[in-house]
Symmetry: C2
Subunit: 557 residues, 2 copies
Amino acid sequence: MKLAENKLLIAALGGVNEIGKNMYLIQYDQDIVVIDCGSKFPDESLPGIDLIVPDITYLLENRDKVRALIVTHGHEDHIGGIPYLLKQLNVPVYGTQLTIGLIKIKLKEHGLLRNAELQVINVDSTVHVGAIQASFFATSHSIPDCVGIFFQTPEGNVVHTGDFKFDMSPVSGPYPDLHRMADIGKQGVKVLLSESTNAERPGFTPSERSVGGHILDAFARAEQQVFISTFASNVNRVQQIIDAAMETNRKLVLLGRSMVNVVSVAKDLGYLKLPDDLLIDAKMTEQYPPEKIAILCTGSQGEPMAALSRLASSRHPHIEILPGDTVIIAAGAIPGNERNLAHVIDNLYVLGANVIYGSGSSAGMHVSGHGSQEELKLMLTLMKPEYLIPVHGEFRMLYQHRLLAESVGIPNENVFIVRNGETVQIEAGTALLGPKIPAGNSLVDGLGIGDIGNIVLRDRRHLSSDGMLIIVTTLSKNQRQMLVAPEVISRGFVYVRDSEALMNEIHENVKSIMDNLTESEMSQWNVIKQTLKDNIGRLIYSQTKRRPMILPIIIEI
Amino acid sequence: MKLAENKLLIAALGGVNEIGKNMYLIQYDQDIVVIDCGSKFPDESLPGIDLIVPDITYLLENRDKVRALIVTHGHEDHIGGIPYLLKQLNVPVYGTQLTIGLIKIKLKEHGLLRNAELQVINVDSTVHVGAIQASFFATSHSIPDCVGIFFQTPEGNVVHTGDFKFDMSPVSGPYPDLHRMADIGKQGVKVLLSESTNAERPGFTPSERSVGGHILDAFARAEQQVFISTFASNVNRVQQIIDAAMETNRKLVLLGRSMVNVVSVAKDLGYLKLPDDLLIDAKMTEQYPPEKIAILCTGSQGEPMAALSRLASSRHPHIEILPGDTVIIAAGAIPGNERNLAHVIDNLYVLGANVIYGSGSSAGMHVSGHGSQEELKLMLTLMKPEYLIPVHGEFRMLYQHRLLAESVGIPNENVFIVRNGETVQIEAGTALLGPKIPAGNSLVDGLGIGDIGNIVLRDRRHLSSDGMLIIVTTLSKNQRQMLVAPEVISRGFVYVRDSEALMNEIHENVKSIMDNLTESEMSQWNVIKQTLKDNIGRLIYSQTKRRPMILPIIIEI
């Protein structure tokens, strides 16, 4: 796809009509700047898939124009796709110090660190890409060092907010830079891309600081070991947990790979104040009394392989949860994870732990990192954009964001709710929907990227719901007749020992079907296979109401 | 398992440490009374399973002692397993008029109605089973005609609450019978089995009546068609929806099989006031202006095959949701259904509908049918039981229920948190944990009940995550050598057209593995199969990081 000259084009390659795999682009003339490159986890409709990243066909088709990837912050839904992008397109990556630090961990794991071009920026930096100039403003979110991006182009100014809330009392700076935002608004914003995660939630999201008091109280009240689980990347919450451990004279154990990695990077870069003698190894806990121990671990979403799940089912080699211990889940369940998390909480109770969970007033162990309705309106009022593209949200969130925009005076027709791959073009001051560009899900399964097609997924779903039945028939090359009795093998269908009668009947049926085929039918393998599929399928359905995948295999000798 | 004489035994066959498939039993001497027989839906860890019902091995082993099934109310998690029970054990079923009406629908579908012995009871009835005498008290819940059960036995009185809230202003009677409950409490309750669904929720659940005003407001404000989805069995809410349609002069369309069934039974039995001229057929809607139409449908959980999902994705043959229509989701999402429901809401917004959802104060379209903490305390205070067995809840709910019991003066050691199959025995006035009886999940898949074992499920999970690879080798009977090239077939693994190189390599490897086997190895099929599995598995994992199921098949000619 070619773009006409002197036009400004804006598109999402991921992140609208979904939560996850954020990736946006702005293009002016011969230059493309990419914003973020995230990943998301598949739901149960994509069996066996490890990760979903954006389809970057458009970028590959225009690889000579792609000048920069600017990353707003270090969360997985903004950086998780970077290794898969850089494998195919080595573009310079710009981000703040912590963001680049977290990207480095990721690139190292993929063996891509040596060849990557990583550029640390800060709120005073400017990035020039052809006629596009990008500068940055500080925002607050559930990870430090977040920025919004201010693009100046010949067709007008474009702002991408990144993820934000207006936390005016952040645990450790920086404050959201209201003055700079007001200044950008004064300069005039043609198009605002603003995040929509909490557009359904009335009011103002509480400050992260409000969680700290609850954590400290729980640590102080606990008479034995304290376990606390949160997102590793929520460095401000981790700081408050560190502070609570210090205040209550507890040594701190870190469990879970991402917790260890993030704490290490954040400490090295100065984002965490963590005295050297606070941390101890899991093996050392025996040397301290239980009231002197706190364990900070991953697994706040109930992920079955993470540290908290292992602890809850007594699968950790060195640490055991004992009756009377306190366990704090300092996170909300992301939709889809409720059951896993509830299961972990149940197991913790079975172990006799005192479990504190939930974001309600009774627990107060979590606040969102995303701004609620009043904060989205505050951003809109500061930026006063002519056009809004709500991003970072499922459709109903984008829709609610449009209603909020209307309420602060942005006309309905100036709000573009786009799908991934739909473009908004600005020409001569006016924004219109432009041509579509390729966009979608690229599925990562093992080492393969994007090689899992619909047929493979359909087969996996079929196999998982009713299993399969393999019928091997052996034909002689010339006489077109069966040489030996057919083999019938099933997996995931019925337990053969309990279903001898059915399996025998299938066997007999295969033989009689084969015997009844005419010579001409026997010479057409497709006919043999289809006849077996149809007849055996009907037999099985009538007896079991199941539809296993039936796979006839013909061997010709 | 034999029970000693003159003992009272209480057990859950389903319903504790889970939400769903409630089934309890009380046994005295040679008589067993069963309470409820529910079903639940499987989660994604049980691929292909249609339904889960209780394992009734214990009842089958003691079939001559099972005298009665008493059903507290007509919800699926209390009646859904009845057809599967009656197929194996024809026991008389006791329930109130509406409960029996709903059971009849179910038995009819299974062709079991003719032989079933169904007994309608009411709050004045008494059922005698040997030395056990059962009577009933009215409770309120999200379906009418609910009862709790009062058992009098020589070893003391036992109360089972059924599901309840204390709705003192129910939409249509009956009121929860506080006086009868107080009277039972005065007579002395040895053991209380009380439901625990909302044991985590502080306060008092609002009255069902509070929803009616919100529904009427939304109906009155709507300028076009109104769609509203709720649980079919919530007859009181359905009544309020009927009332709102009448008040706003709208004709009512019913969509969804369970909605049509339940409304028909509830109307016939006098539980719904529904004028004959209110209902119209879906095909007739064209004859009315949109502001004269209301559609009441199933699918409030986002179930992909239910009416609301079909409407949201424009798959209904007669009715279309148009921009400006109002859609009300008058239900909360049951944990595990959030994603499906969010997806439906997104689709409704895409169609341009005004969607009203959520139980928060802003929408108010749903209240729970289960009592919150203060109501559980009220029940405990009315019944003053010596022992409590919290039922109907996951472990953390049962645990919170115990804390509530402690707060009203029941000693911790008098609360039995049991697992399905654990028994509580009362002898000489004292309750103790008794022997375990068989209990667990019986899986319904197509026509089979309980014939899906762990191996089948493990295979399904394996097949769904990485697919499979079949290797067919053909050996001559005497020379122990391959007759033709091996066949390699994959499903759900990789898309073969994109993976020719890999498939060729697998082919070559199979051949060379077979060529390198010694004559003695060739005579042991297990060795051939294991060698192929190991070697090809390693090859595939090194190249793809996937582990498909590898299925070697040997054909001997």
